[in-house]
């Protein structure tokens, strides 16, 4: 029930931000901001309810991970929503957030039992870091899409469109850079924590080879993007394109890995 309330709130907020994109009136954005705050409050309630009676971090399944990713990304976007120049970004993020939550809705449920002892040291650090990193990559993805749209508008000279008043390219590029940098650090830390966890359990790495390759591939894409940015200043369009590609690879790998290893890192590791 509460999940559908969250989806409804996100959809409504998205609608207001889209309205603001085409009809720049202050009351519209004020209302959209208020709705966004309410959406996040309800979403936090939902996430807390997912912790279950054992009060575990609700990251026990891929579905819960997506829920957490959307919540963390929303917390980043609420910061943008209260800035005049970046408020319209909500129009691009919230529909995506609503769709993501709608897709996981049938399978989202609270945690049942408590974790075994072996899950209690590195596991929370691993999952929280990876999900935080992925949330930041999701933010970078949305910002990249907006960057490409705005650049297309500028190059074609369609500045008279109301929707052309998107955040300046330089600002979008800075946000993109900050999200990629922080997200990369979080993902790298998450992978290290995952490796430490696996090694502490004495896991046979051949059993989770696909997961390792998938993680490494995603890490390499974002590492390449950051390297190009800082080494030869690939700012702007190229970074945006790599980020979009990297995020899509991340989604494919996320779905693929979770199909290959169902049960929250479970089967292979707990054997």
């Amino acid at each position: 029930m509460i999940l559908w309330a969250v989806i409804l709130f996100y959809a409504l907020t998205g609608l207001f931000f889209i309205t603001y994109l085409f009809w720049r009136k202050r009351p519209v954005v004020l209302f959209a901001r208020g709705l966004f705050l309410a959406s996040i409050a309800v979403h936090i309630l939902l996430t807390l309810s997912l912790a279950g009676p054992a009060h575990r971090i609700p990251l026990a399944s891929p579905v819960q991970a997506v829920n957490m990713m959307v919540l963390l990304a929303s917390l980043v976007f609420i910061f943008f929503a209260f800035r005049r120049q970046t408020a319209v970004l909500g129009a691009f993020f919230l529909p995506v957030a609503g769709v993501a939550l709608g897709m996981i809705a049938p399978r989202l449920q609270a945690n049942g039992t408590t974790l075994p002892v072996m899950f209690q040291t590195w596991y929370p650090l691993h999952t929280v870091s990876v999900v935080a990193g992925e949330a930041l990559f999701a933010v970078a993805f949305v910002v990249s899409v907006v960057y490409l749209i705005h650049e297309g508008i500028i190059r074609k000279g369609r500045l008279h469109w109301t929707a052309a008043s998107l955040p300046p390219l330089r600002l979008l590029d800075r946000i993109l850079s900050a999200c990629l940098g922080t997200g990369f650090v979080a993902i790298t830390a998450g992978m290290l924590f995952g490796a430490l966890w696996a090694s502490s359990l004495g896991v046979d790495l051949s059993q989770i080879l696909m997961k390792i390759w998938a993680g490494a591939a995603m890490w390499l894409v974002f590492a390449f993007s950051l390297h190009q940015r800082f080494a030869i200043r690939w700012s702007g369009r190229r970074t945006a394109l790599i980020t979009i590609a990297g995020f899509l690879i991340m989604i494919i790998l996320f779905v693929g890995v979770n199909m290959a290893y169902p049960g929250a890192h479970g089967a292979g590791l707990t054997r």
Partner: protein, 411 residues
Amino acid sequence: MNRLGCLSINHRSAPVEIREKVVLSPQDFRSLCSRGEEVYALTTCNRTEVYWIGIDEHALLKHMAWLSGVSGESLRGYCEIYQGQEAIRHLFMVASGLDSLIIGENQILGQVKDAYRQALAAGTTSTFLNKALHRTFRTAKRVRTETSIGRYPVSVASQAVELACHIFGDISAGPVLIIGAGDMAGIAARRLKDRGAGDLCIINRTFSAACDLAAELGGKPRSFSALKQELLRCAIVITSTGSPTPIITRAMMDDVMKQRRNEPMIIIDIAVPRDVEPEAGKCYNCYLYDIDALKTIVDKHISFRQEETDKALAIVSAEVERFARWAGSLDAQATIRDLFFLMDEYIASEMGANSLEPGHAAIVEQKLRSSLKRYLHRVASYLKEHPTLTNIEQTRRIFQLDEDYQDRHKG
């Protein structure tokens, strides 16, 4: 309201040779405003407008002819004359930029306000024109905020600023490079300065011309040999030289962008023939716009402004109607006042004609006054409720108020 007149010499009605002679300020009309007359004069590069209350049109034209040195006959040929509501509509349209050469331009409102300050200082405006001008500011503000008429730039410099804002956020922080010191470059540089460009650098083949423009704008002159060095530093470049061959080539830009580490750059090339090789625009993070590209954008903006004109005209019409109601109530009050003066005069003449005893005379006068007041009160109430021009004119005609005043003035 009908007493309001407007005389406009503008870009439609008169050539620049005439417009530049008829440059007037409110002080020039002080001599005409001795007995409650009001005058407001506005002069800009595209128009000279005079609005008046209570002055004879011919006398005003004569005065203007004397001030400008243009003969009265020919001056009349260059004038557009408006009366009453049409005059107030014209004023609202001028201040809203709807009568400007470039529809929706916003400089005019500042000029209207400046002229009003001068008129106040000269003491040439009073109740009616003061109210009219305050309504004008309100109308212009409504047009600007409730329509998008002034939202999109139509000049090259404003376009450059707009494009730069889309890329960099604002232009005040970054350095701006102007290549050339001719008319076009000068206009663009001045506009950029007006829009907040702080660090202006001017490069020209003739260094003295660069120095002159830089001195005028508080910028920094550089010799032509420093072009590449400045391209490395500046994110916004406007170029307008008379060079027959491109002065910025693709090879140069490749090198510049490499050294700038692909920091974004916008180049506005308004020169014909072009100063920048078109291929230079293909450099990564380099946004190049030539005069044709700008013209395409400007044309779109102009057509967009024209689309918004209907909305703006609706606002002007609503405000004119509102002002007409106010002016009507003002005229109605004057008519009511005249009616009661007429009543006083009638009573005085009736009482003077009769030789009653003082005690009886006072009673008769009181009775007469109260009866006439009751009678006139109905007329006054109706006029207050319906202060239309027709009602006011009919009342004045029925009671012969204007004739009475003329007779008395003659007397």
